[in-house]
Structures are given as structure tokens and as C-alpha cells.
């Protein structure tokens, strides 16, 4: 008689996961592990979001850290009746990025182009840097839509929850933002080609 194995399906694993709000409640009760789990789950996405929104890795690190510091505070204004913890965290991160940007231009350019290899042959570093610059020049609401929907790969519904606006608004902002980005990218590519010649 052969041994019986049980394979865990991803859906089951997801089903076993505790929600952010549950982890938050445990964390508020002093559960260190819950806080660690919440950090592991949300910190990378928050850092990525802050990086794309601010264009600075240092600022991204600072923002993601500060979000968790605010979450720890006893008088934090998160209320699970009003929205999800994820939305609250992105909201705090967005405000922090605004504060950082208001303090002055971000000096440190994100040098991501040299880091990726898979698309390295197709996309040169200049055009990626141009895209990043174009992204940073977008109005905040448009940039939010691109970062959440296209870079964080959130659905329109999730993005709408995070941004606190209707799904239709997210879609129209994204379409306009993409139009602006495409135009800027094209202009940058033309300039680059002229410079090469």
C-alpha cells in the first residue's frame, strides 16, 4: 500500500492566510509575529510604490518604514469600517511621498535600466530612464493610476479602493496617463535617435 500524500493547492494556502486586518488586530494586541508577517507581506509593495512615485530608493525606504511606524502608533487613524488596511497604507505612503516631493526635487535618479536583463536587448537604458522621468512628471493622480494598475498590477477595483474613487475614474485616469506617457516616450525616442545620428 503506497503512502498517501496531500498536495496543498494555492487556493487553500490563500484561504489559510490571515487577512491584513486580522494581523493588524493581533499586532495591536502586542503580537510580534503578526507585525512581522504584515511587514513581510506589505513592505515590498509599499517600497516599490514609493519608489515609482518618488523616483528615489532612499525615499522609498523611508516611506515604507514610516508607514509601519504610523501603523504602530497607539492613536493611528485606521478604521476597518471605513476601508481596507492596504488602502490605508497606500494612502499614508502617498501622503508621505507628497511631503518628500514638496521638500524639493528628488536628487537620486532610479537606475533600474541597468538592472534588468530579460528585456535588456529590446529596451535600452535611455528609453527606460525616459519613461521613468515621464512617470515622475505625470500629475500625482495619473501617476497613482499607472503605478497601481500597471506597475503593481492591481485590478481596477483594487486600485479604486486604494485611491478612494470610482472604478470608472481609475480607468479614465489610467487611459489619459498612458496616452501622456506614450507621447513622452515617443518624443524621447525620437530625440535619442536624432542624437545618435
Amino acid at each position: 500500500m503506497g503512502r498517501q500524500y496531500r498536495f496543498e493547492r494555492p487556493a487553500e494556502r490563500i484561504g489559510m492566510q490571515r487577512s491584513d486586518e486580522e494581523l493588524y488586530r493581533l499586532m495591536k494586541g502586542g503580537d510580534r509575529e503578526a507585525f512581522g508577517e504584515l511587514y513581510e507581506r506589505r513592505a515590498p509593495a509599499l517600497r516599490r510604490y514609493a519608489l515609482h512615485m518618488s523616483g528615489s530608493a532612499a525615499a522609498a525606504e523611508e516611506v515604507s518604514h514610516e508607514v509601519f511606524v504610523q501603523l504602530m502608533r497607539a492613536n493611528t487613524n485606521f478604521d476597518d469600517q471605513r476601508g481596507s488596511l492596504e488602502g490605508w497604507m497606500y494612502g499614508v505612503a502617498r501622503n508621505l511621498v507628497r511631503v518628500i516631493r514638496r521638500q524639493g526635487p528628488v536628487q537620486e535618479p532610479v537606475d533600474q535600466a541597468v538592472r534588468h536583463d530579460m528585456l535588456g536587448e529590446l529596451i535600452n537604458a535611455e528609453s527606460l530612464a525616459a519613461l521613468h522621468t515621464a512617470l515622475r512628471e505625470l500629475p500625482v493622480l495619473y501617476r497613482d493610476a499607472v503605478v497601481l494598475c500597471d506597475l503593481e498590477e492591481m485590478s481596477y477595483e483594487e486600485s479604486a479602493r486604494v485611491m478612494g474613487c470610482p472604478v470608472g475614474t481609475v480607468r479614465s485616469r489610467l487611459h489619459r496617463a498612458r496616452g501622456l506617457l506614450a507621447a513622452k516616450l515617443k518624443r524621447a525616442q525620437v530625440t535619442s535617435e536624432v542624437a545618435v545620428r
Partner: protein, 213 residues
């Protein structure tokens, strides 16, 4: 299909990275503007994919460590605050119980007159307090329970108001129906204890003043 609806669809199509539906591809093939937009959208999607896959600069390990340390500190602080609150609440509760008991004891305690009534008078010999007499303070009656004065001891006189209960406890015989206060001089020894008492006669209700001995 017009250009406006085609552009809405082709943005979504470029984002998904799939093939265009037949209707849309037919329109794109026949419309230069939409074809150019389709190219731009595909190009943008490729660039955004590259940006996303470019990854993230690795987070500093100390970032989490710092947060966890801060979390521990806050938790400790919170625990201390909770303990302080618990202890203060317990102390407050105990205090209020004591105060309540004290107040109830006062309210439920026998009235001075009742004390006088319930007290069984004993006969004590009336005796003047010699040291006071010698000092020219007349009318002091030695309290029956007081210890004899020590040679060389000094005394103080305290004027106060005494109620029937206090007078009975000092060994003064009381009219059970009397329920007032009387002014008295209490002679106090160096040990702080009363040695003798002199009832004042200027009370006005001479007939009701208790009789001392």
C-alpha cells in the same frame, strides 16, 4: 467601430498583452491613427513591464530589525501603562471601598446621646486635680481613667467642645435625655492624653449641663 471606442479597447488589449479581437484588429488595420496608437501602447506596455521586472532595490535588512525593535519598545511601554492603569484602578477601588465603609460606619454608628444612654454609669469618687489646683486653675476634675501625673510633668489646657458620648467616655455622668455639646477645658499631659476636665458654666443652659465628678 469608431476610433474612440477602438482606442479604449486597444489600451486594455495592450495592457493584457493578448491578441486583438477581430473587430478591433480590422479597425486598426484600416485606421492610421489607431494603428499608431496601438504601436505606442504596445511599446509603452513593454517598457512598463521592463520597469516592473527591473525589480526593486533590495530592502535593508536593518529596516525590519529597527521596526521590530521599535515594536518591542512600544509593546513594553504599553504593558507598563496597562499595569499602571490596573494598579491605579485597584488602588482607587480600595480607597473608595474604605471611604464608603468609613462613611457608612459614621452614619450607622450610635449617636452620642445613644452612647450616653447605653453606657452604664459607674460611680467614681470626685477628685480634684491637685497639680492644677496648686497652679491656681480651679475646678478641674481628675479623669477616673487617667494615669497619675509624673512629678515635674507640665500640662496644657485645651478649650474644646465635647459631646455627650465623649463626656461619658471620660467618666462624666450624663443626663440621658441631653443631646448637645458643652464647652470644656481639657488638661492634657505631656503624653498628649487628657488628665482632667473642667466644664464651662457659661453655656447658658446651666440646668442641662452634665454633672462632672
Amino acid at each position: 467601430m469608431n476610433c474612440e471606442s477602438a482606442r479604449l479597447e486597444l489600451v486594455e488589449c495592450a495592457r493584457r498583452g493578448g491578441e486583438m479581437p477581430a473587430g478591433l484588429s480590422g479597425h486598426v488595420a484600416s485606421c492610421d491613427g489607431c494603428r499608431s496608437r496601438w504601436q505606442a501602447e504596445r511599446d509603452l506596455s513593454t517598457h512598463l513591464d521592463a520597469l516592473r521586472m527591473g525589480g526593486l532595490p533590495a530592502g535593508h535588512d536593518w529596516g525590519k530589525a529597527v521596526l521590530m525593535r521599535e515594536f518591542d519598545q512600544r509593546r513594553r511601554h504599553l504593558r507598563q501603562v496597562r499595569w499602571m492603569w490596573t494598579l491605579s484602578t485597584a488602588a482607587l477601588l480600595m480607597l473608595s471601598v474604605l471611604v464608603a465603609r468609613d462613611i457608612r460606619g459614621r452614619h450607622n454608628g450610635p449617636e452620642p446621646a445613644a452612647v450616653a444612654q447605653s453606657f452604664t454609669p459607674r460611680e467614681y469618687p470626685e477628685e480634684t486635680f491637685a497639680p492644677a489646683e496648686e497652679a491656681g486653675e480651679k475646678g478641674f476634675i481628675k479623669l477616673p481613667f487617667a494615669l497619675p501625673p509624673v512629678p515635674g510633668e507640665t500640662f496644657g489646657i485645651v478649650r474644646t467642645e465635647l459631646d455627650p458620648g465623649q463626656l461619658v467616655r471620660m467618666g462624666v455622668r450624663m443626663d440621658p435625655g441631653w443631646n448637645g455639646t458643652v464647652e470644656a477645658d481639657v488638661l492634657v499631659g505631656q503624653d498628649g492624653l487628657a488628665e482632667a476636665v473642667r466644664l464651662s458654666n457659661d453655656d447658658g443652659a446651666a440646668g442641662e449641663t452634665p454633672q462632672g465628678y
